[in-house]
């Protein structure tokens, strides 16, 4: 036993000595749990940015950036907190890309990141509550808040000439946050929400929910749920009973399953998802294909941007200490400066070294507003002949 300990200690020493120059970044995502299918392409996005910076050889005098993965499980705040604790105290990461889901992110931010003074940039936590949370300037996100989605959804619905809607949401932080922010935005714009009712996922029967929604009435039904959970159950019931004919789908409902399971029945329904287009996105997709993963994966581009922002801010501050570089994140993310696209991180590091301002555009046209969250572009979609079609970006 003693020998083993000695050997381990020796190995650790040797390894530590060899990598003294390395900067470690945490990749804190839900590798297991309800969103486990999304996390691999997100992690791949973040790690691609780190590899790009390492390969350029221009980061902090030629340091390598090493990713350290940690599992949040998405739903278990205690597990997420423990993982974040390990990343920071045992692995010694200097910044974290994550967490993934809103509840778990709040927990690891308040319990671990803030006491230890470590920056967290989440690619995918969208709860409006995270906009106003006390974060000591340590928390940022490259995805838009659902408060923003509520406003965008209101605009789209109003443009369809609809003034009265019923709302049902999945009974969790995401659903409730989105439904409430939408109701506030819609009523401020002069619309009327006839009912704002929760549904629970994975239940046996949704007749009661559909009955209540139908009785409240409205020109359309907004379903703030998940397409592979209760959202589809409500949709099926509402369609079959003839309660509603037009549906509005926020991000959790827009998926391939809608086309295969409902198809032509949804003609005329519409929705929106956070998504971006343009030169940055195209470049990112190219890089991702070259790196051997699917860049179109949800929030994969956002993860790339989150990692890139941390590293550029470090370079700009000339330090890997969060207390120093947290001030620089807004600077490198926003104008003025030389615009930086994916694949140009090496160039950005050169510019920063030369003292030139950079404006990181990245894969998702990053523009941080408020307390440090993405303004966000949304893709408006509509059902035509049973297929999801993109109307435009807004």
């Amino acid at each position: 036993m003693k020998k083993l300990l000695l050997a381990t200690a020796a190995t650790a020493l040797v390894a530590g000595a060899a990598q003294a120059e390395d900067v470690k970044l945490g990749v804190l995502l839900g590798f297991t749990g309800p969103l486990e299918s999304m996390s691999p392409s997100m992690a791949a996005g973040a790690e691609m940015a780190m590899k790009e910076v390492t390969d350029s050889g221009k980061f902090m005098g030629g340091s390598a950036v090493v990713p350290v993965r940690g599992d949040t499980t998405c739903i278990d705040a205690a597990a997420a907190t423990a993982t974040a604790e390990r990343l920071i105290t045992a692995d010694g990461v200097k910044g974290i890309v994550g967490g993934m889901c809103s509840g778990e992110t709040t927990a690891s931010l308040q319990n671990v990141a803030m006491p230890n003074g470590i920056v967290m940039i989440s690619p995918s936590a969208t709860s409006p509550a995270l906009s106003t949370i006390e974060d000591n300037g340590l928390f940022f996100r490259t995805s838009p808040s659902d408060a923003r989605q509520g406003v965008v959804m209101t605009e789209i619905i109003m443009e369809h000439g609809i003034k009265e809607v019923a709302v049902t949401y999945t009974n969790n932080d995401y659903g409730k946050g989105l439904a409430d922010s939408f109701q506030a935005a819609f009523e401020a714009a002069g619309g009327k929400v006839t009912i704002n009712a929760a549904h629970d996922d994975g239940k046996a029967d949704y007749a009661a929910e559909v009955g209540a929604l139908a009785s409240a009435g409205g020109q359309a039904l907004v379903i703030a749920g998940y397409v592979d959970q209760g959202g589809s159950g409500i949709l099926r019931g509402a369609l079959d009973s003839g309660a509603f004919e037009t549906f509005v789908f926020p991000d959790g409902m827009v998926g391939g399953a809608l086309e295969t399971n409902f198809g032509a029945e949804l003609t005329g329904s519409f929705g929106q998802i956070p998504s971006s287009e343009g030169e940055g996105k195209d470049k990112f997709l190219e890089l991702a294909t070259a790196a051997g993963f699917d860049g179109t994966g949800v929030y994969s581009a956002e993860a790339y941007d989150a990692a890139a922002l941390i590293m550029l801010a470090m370079a700009s501050a000339g330090s890997t200490d969060a207390a120093a570089y947290k001030e620089k994140i807004m600077d490198v993310a926003n104008a003025p400066g030389e615009p930086i696209l994916p694949g140009e991180l090496g160039k950005a590091l050169e510019l920063i070294a030369a003292g030139t301002d950079v404006d990181y555009v990245g894969a998702t046209s990053v523009e941080l507003i408020g307390s440090g969250e993405s303004a966000g572009t949304f893709r408006e979609i509509e059902f035509k002949d049973g297929k999801i079609e993109t109307v435009r970006y807004r």
Binding site: N171, I195, A197, A198, H199, D200, G202, K203, A204, D205, A207, A208, E209, V210, G211, A212, A214, S215, A216, G217, D228, S232, G233, R236, G237, D240, S241, G242, A243, A257, N261
Partner: protein, 335 residues
């Protein structure tokens, strides 16, 4: 016209869905109550037996469809049902031989058998997912509607739609047939009578020469048939997802206990009581009231309880029944 509209709205959103759901619960509760009455324990694996049975139905349905055999306007699953019942019966009989048989021989207390059934539940849980996966599967084919919303509006000119899905009609007819067959079997046949005797007084039944192994085997086969039928009907009406069948276990037990554990009539009544209270108590009466009293257009929804509380409703009924009538509505065995 307005009274008709009110009636149609009520039919469409309360009566028809609750009746179909009630029939599905009743079939499930019948299986639970039968096991409780004759084998004397609460079978927690029943929900997953339903899931396994439905998975078998789906596999046979796919095979039939691949062979080009369908039932025309009826779902092919009905044709696959007998095969699925046979397969499921095989599984529960094997489970009984491997697991329950031992605990019966050592005359284990009922609570131990309940715990054993929880273990069986987890095994079946995994088995079902292993066989068919965790994803949602839609296996209904044939005509979807008997009365469709648009067709009804055009035919009658009423503002309110009425829909009757073929799966709902099939559920009701099949449930009625199954219940009739079960009561006939229990009341008229020699085996059925011996099962009732065994249930009423085990020792006396054994003394009068009833073969206990035969009673146990027949009970499991009937329970498997009920579970598979209930699961398939539920899956046709909604869709198949292994996890949902596990969730179904709670309302099924509530139905069986409300009706009186061990009483077949009680199981049926309990199923409908639970279904109607879940849908009815949380229904928003605004629309119906608006039609009935045109002068009064209420601002609120006239909803007694919000839909989040629908499970609370069935459990409140359960507690009230247990407090005032511990043996259930139809005099089952005391729990």
């Amino acid at each position: 016209m307005d009274i008709l509209n009110a009636l149609v709205a009520l039919l469409n959103f309360v009566v028809i869905p609750a009746t179909a759901y009630g029939a599905q619960l009743a079939l499930g509760a019948l299986g639970v109550t039968l096991i409780y009455g004759i084998l004397r324990f609460s079978n927690f694996a029943h929900g997953d037996t339903m899931a396994f049975g439905t998975a078998m139905t789906i596999l046979v349905t796919w095979a039939l469809q691949a062979a080009g055999i369908t039932l025309g306007p009826l779902p092919t699953a009905l044709l696959a049902l007998p095969f699925a019942i046979a397969l499921t019966a095989g599984l529960v009989l094997a489970t009984d031989r491997v697991v329950y048989d031992y605990y019966r021989r050592v005359r284990a207390a009922p609570v131990i058998l309940v715990m054993v059934s929880v273990g069986v539940m987890f095994v079946m849980n995994g088995l079902t997912r292993f066989v068919i996966g965790v994803d949602e599967i839609n296996f209904a084919d044939g005509a979807r509607f008997v009365i469709s919303a648009r067709g009804f509006r055009e035919a009658t000119g009423l503002a309110e739609p009425l829909t009757l899905r073929s799966s709902q009609l099939i559920t009701l007819i099949t449930a009625a047939l199954v219940v009739w067959a079960l009561f006939w079997f229990l009341g008229r046949t020699r085996t059925g009578k011996s099962m009732r005797a065994f249930s009423d007084n085990e020792d006396l039944a054994l003394l009068s020469g009833i073969n206990p192994n035969r009673v146990v085997a027949v009970t499991w086969i009937i329970a498997a048939a009920l579970a598979t039928t209930a699961g398939t009907l539920y899956g046709l009406d909604k869709s198949f997802k292994a996890f949902n069948y596990f969730q179904l276990l709670l309302p099924i037990f509530a139905a069986a206990v409300v009706g009186g554990l061990g009483s077949p009539v009680g199981a049926i009544a309990g199923g409908f009581v639970i279904a109607f209270s879940e849908v009815g108590v949380t229904y928003a009466w605004k629309k119906v009231a608006g039609y009935l009293i045109p002068a009064w257009q209420p601002e609120g929804l006239l909803q007694l309880l919000s839909t989040e509380y629908k499970f609370a409703v069935s459990f409140a009924i359960l507690i009230i029944v247990l407090l005032f009538k511990p043996t259930g509505l139809f005099k089952g065995k005391a729990v």
